[in-house]
């Protein structure tokens, strides 16, 4: 059940992200990229399989300590999230700079000036 819900949510998120990336407004494009990269992170978590109860062996407490969730994907996601923070911050600052330089964040107007 969880798989189907997650698959549906991921699909919706990717669709939403793609929709936003194709907007005229630069801020929305940045939001779109952020949503896409966040959904990539969620997707990454699901790739480890959702079967287990605990992430690391020998922790024992929750879920009986028998089934183990792959901890590696969580390490990957952590790395990806940190990188995502950096790039999002840069993209937002760049958006502000674009507004300063051009007086607009409408991509159509930006394109016409080229």
């Amino acid at each position: 059940m969880t798989q189907f819900v997650l698959a549906a949510v991921l699909g919706t998120l990717f669709a939403l992200g793609t929709f936003l990336v194709l907007r005229r407004d630069v801020v929305r494009v940045v939001w779109g990229v952020t949503i896409i990269s966040q959904s990539a992170n969620v997707y990454l978590v699901t790739m480890g399989g959702l079967s287990g109860g605990v992430p690391v062996l020998g922790h024992g407490g929750h879920g009986g300590g028998h089934a183990v969730t792959d901890p590696l994907v969580q390490a990957l996601v952590l790395t990806a999230i940190v990188i995502g923070f950096g790039t999002t911050a840069f993209a937002l600052v760049l958006t502000y700079r674009v507004y300063q330089e051009h007086g607009t964040i409408d991509l159509l107007e930006l394109g016409e000036k080229a």
Partner: protein
């Protein structure tokens, strides 16, 4: 075999980046440290090359970070292929660094230029050396993060617009890369490239996973690498970004950063995935040549189509440009096509010698393009510095006022056209040779068309920019000694590479063999028996 020198170039670049960041209040100290770091980087790479590839018995070395044995830890791998890429990158990087010290204004240098430049080198080095597919993503990000800022360096209207396009495109690319890597991990259960290679070659022994998803995910990954390399359907970010970045940075982007994409294609598809058999998978409309229902052969037609399209799009685009940087940027799309074309032939070739020659041709062409395009972008920067414009209508007669600079540009152009004895001649000859050996008329025709276009746009650039009567702006121009010296030094090294081509060819062949020798790579990383640290 575990050796520490593998990590040396990475450390040198990282230490230099941090040192230049710490000393940014002291302009002169910072520049000195930065240049010393560039020399040190070249030294570290030379050390690595002398160990890996002393022109004879080549070996594969791996370094397991913190002693965590592969495939569980992070591995750095140095073989002839990485050594070849690192060697020419280090030379171009040092030349561009010296150029930058004289070219970029002192305020810009003080604020952020040097740390960013060296962080970019950290990313490039890491991408060449990593033996882990997720780490490849991380190094790509390190490299791209710095290059974003360097593209927007002047932060004028056109620079911000170019950077926006570049950033958004690469962020989407990164997300796609994550998807592909996550999927590969889920399917095969590993991220280590050697382990991945071992598993896809024999899925039955490792949990009997299906190979079809691996093919799809590797294709997704391929789109990202093609984006980094600026291959045809993904080439549209190239001209704006290259035009916006400072000249030495464009030289690095075209000469080195683009080659990271090419390297990733060679490493991942020719080393890692090459042994995967597709079995009875079939594709409507795509016939895989005999001998290979191998995964690599599937990429042959795709690489071929992309290479052909790049050569044509880049060449035709370059002919119509009115400024030097625009011309060079389009030209670099076309030249990457020339690098990928022999790879496409190698991917489908069944003959081992053609395969080695194809990859070697790609490596030689990559080296030549790195040097020549680096030189040309820096020459264009020197022209801009002297005249204040790079629009052809305002130029003319530079060969009279700046003969050395024009000579350098001329040599770079001849190298890309492929005139002996420059290194470009051998690069082009090898491409034609590979195409001839498999008797592919289409490949020969495309390469010939591309070569003619190259002659057309460079003679046009030469006639309009450097020949004839000096324009008013050109007459009052003054060139800086350092800038011209770097251009001339690169021009000389292109000639030296051409004259001493024997050594280059041997290194390229060793690189190609390393790329295709899956067994040695797997053994070096995972150990023949496993278990020793």
């Amino acid at each position: 075999m575990s050796e520490q020198f593998v990590v040396a170039p990475l450390l040198v670049a990282l230490v230099t980046a941090i040192a230049t960041l710490l000393t940014r209040r002291f302009g002169r100290v910072q520049v000195t440290l930065s240049l010393l770091g560039g020399v040190g980087y070249l030294g570290a790479v030379a050390w690595l090359v002398s160990k890996v590839d002393p022109l004879g018995a080549t070996e594969v070395f791996s370094y397991q970070l913190s002693g965590w044995q592969a495939p569980f830890g992070i591995t750095l791998v140095a073989d002839s292929l990485s050594a070849f890429m690192l060697a020419f990158s280090a030379v171009i990087a040092l030349a561009a660094l010296v150029f930058s010290a004289a070219y970029v204004d002192s305020f810009g240098q003080r604020v952020s230029y040097h740390p960013l430049y060296h962080f970019m080198m950290v990313g490039v080095t890491g991408s060449f050396l990593t033996g882990d597919i997720f780490n490849l993503f991380v190094w790509f990000e390190v490299m791209l993060m710095s290059s974003y800022v360097l593209v927007v360096f002047y932060s004028g209207p056109e620079h911000t617009r170019a950077a926006l396009q570049y950033v958004v495109l690469n962020l989407v690319g990164s997300a796609v890369m994550l998807l592909a890597i996550g999927g590969l991990y889920s399917t095969t259960g590993t991220l280590n490239m050697a382990d991945l290679s071992r598993r896809v070659a024999d899925p039955a022994a490792y949990g009997d996973f299906a190979i079809a998803p691996v093919l799809g995910l590797s294709a997704l990954l391929f789109a990202v690498f093609a984006l980094k390399a600026g291959l045809a359907p993904f080439q549209f970010w190239v001209p704006a970004a290259y035009r916006a970045a400072p000249a030495p940075v464009s030289a690095m982007l075209a000469g080195v950063v683009k080659k990271v994409g090419v390297y990733a294609i060679i490493r991942v598809y020719f080393t890692v995935f090459s042994a995967a058999a597709l079995g009875d998978l079939s594709f409507p409309g795509l016939s895989v040549p005999d001998g290979g229902s191998a995964l690599l052969a599937f990429y042959g037609p795709i690489l071929f189509a992309m290479a052909g399209a790049s050569i044509i799009v880049g060449g035709v685009g370059a002919v119509g440009r009115d400024d030097i940087d625009g011309l060079l940027a389009y030209s670099s799309i076309g030249q990457v096509g020339f690098i990928i074309l022999p790879l496409a032939i190698a991917a489908t070739a069944t003959d081992e010698s053609v395969r080695v020659l194809g990859v070697a041709a790609a490596l030689v062409y990559a080296l030549n393009h790195g040097f020549a395009k680096g030189l040309l972008f820096m020459a264009s920067g020197a022209v801009y510095d002297a005249v204040g414009t790079e629009q052809f209508p305002d130029l003319g007669g530079l060969s009279e006022t700046a003969p050395w600079l024009s000579g350098g540009f001329f040599v770079g152009a001849l190298a890309l056209i492929g005139i002996p004895p420059l290194s470009g001649f051998f690069g082009k000859m090898l491409v034609f040779d590979v195409a001839g050996r498999v008797e592919s008329t289409l490949a020969l025709a495309i390469a010939l068309f591309g070569a003619i276009l190259t002659i057309a746009y460079f003679s046009r650039a030469w006639n309009r920019g450097f020949w004839g009567e000096p324009s008013l702006l050109v007459e009052h121009s003054e060139t800086k000694f350092t800038l011209v010296a770097v251009v001339v030094a690169l021009a000389l090294s292109i000639a030296v590479l051409g004259v001493g081509f024997d050594v280059v060819m041997r290194a390229a062949e060793a690189g190609a063999q390393a790329a295709l020798d899956r067994q040695a790579y797997v053994e070096a990383v995972l150990g023949s028996g496993g278990g020793h640290a």
